[in-house]
Symmetry: C2
Subunit: 251 residues, 2 copies
Amino acid sequence: MTDVRDEGRATAAVGGPEPSDKAPMREALIEAAFQLFLVHGFERTTVDDIVARAGVGRRSFFRYFPSKEDVVFPEHERCLAEMSAFLTTSTDGEPLDVVCDAARLVMRMYAANPEFSVQRYRLTREVPSLRGSELSVVHRYERTLAHYLRQRYAGDDAGALRAEVQAAAVVAAHNNGLRTWLRGGGQGDAAKAVDQSLIFVRQTWGGVGESAERSTAPAPAPEDDVIVLVAPRSAPIWRVVQKIEKTLGDG
Amino acid sequence: MTDVRDEGRATAAVGGPEPSDKAPMREALIEAAFQLFLVHGFERTTVDDIVARAGVGRRSFFRYFPSKEDVVFPEHERCLAEMSAFLTTSTDGEPLDVVCDAARLVMRMYAANPEFSVQRYRLTREVPSLRGSELSVVHRYERTLAHYLRQRYAGDDAGALRAEVQAAAVVAAHNNGLRTWLRGGGQGDAAKAVDQSLIFVRQTWGGVGESAERSTAPAPAPEDDVIVLVAPRSAPIWRVVQKIEKTLGDG
């Protein structure tokens, strides 16, 4: 059930190799849990059912997972740690591009095992307590990204606001792309789906740099070169934009 | 404890008048619960403690609140209903301005009772299960706004993506402003704090229309009048903004 891989990215958490000798038991528990959830439903499956099917003791379950909900999201802790590590070393580059790259780590975790990801997506939509767990983990990703952006924007007026809004926008766009892929049964290219959504966020804030080249955003045509106007430094940018839009006929 | 009001906006949920004769018991339960939470903590207070202090039966508690968590957020259901009703009737106007106005309904609910809101904010930060409840309700607001925007953008390419990203941005900005106000002990002007954050979202997408006039954005001084040059219609607005920012010395 958990042996579908993508580009060899399958990892320790689901079906992949794990350096520690504890991995087989953890995997067996995840596999047993999902087999039971799919047949009997999440609510009607108990931890006792899971350990019986996996052939291990109850204590072993709780060594790996704090609760039954956690067995459904076995890789998020590691992915959060990877994201933090990636951000800690990413002190250069456009801040928004960096957090888009960080968000892609989540997509890659899902893409590493399409079948498991699609099963979990369907399960999560049906079980309220799992939706709660998922909201909580999504919130932690968002906070991690916002924390990074706040540091990068330290000293800017309203840097914290910009950081929080952009982090929320990146997470929303990422999840929009990921959901498109999941709804398609995990058949297509998850990276493409997510990148197509993330480009909207980067276009929104005008930052289409190096990462954009990799993405699917249409490059501006040469005739799109604009004439630059000069305004007093104190002019709020939105007023400039408003007038331009009016002049261009959008207003 | 719950008698601090703001601009007469206090409502049935917390300390205000209620047409139904059930209100006093509901209010008594909320008041008793918060007195106990503040003294003994949320976790150590039981529903039995709350009903004993309020002088009502256990069944009465569950008639008003599905769980102990729900007594902490007594007004969100009504606010969600108000938001939906507001959006249903708001078929005109810039979609982004409409959802900003809808988000302000949440701020007003908090501002209606600053003392209660600040107490709850402090309690929620300390109790993980309350943070979970709060995340869940924030998500419902975000979905409500996204649903509205999706309908308004129906037919647009990537309308759903735009709707979800903008709804997330509006919620993040709203909560940033609200948190600023709550951290200040609910002393200042909640509307001003939230509007100052929301203006960033509306500037981001270039739409600063009628609502901006009502908001607290500083009015531009006359000498801020800008000179507008004309760019080709096909120029993406972000490139125009990027160049302006560079010219003004921000880039």
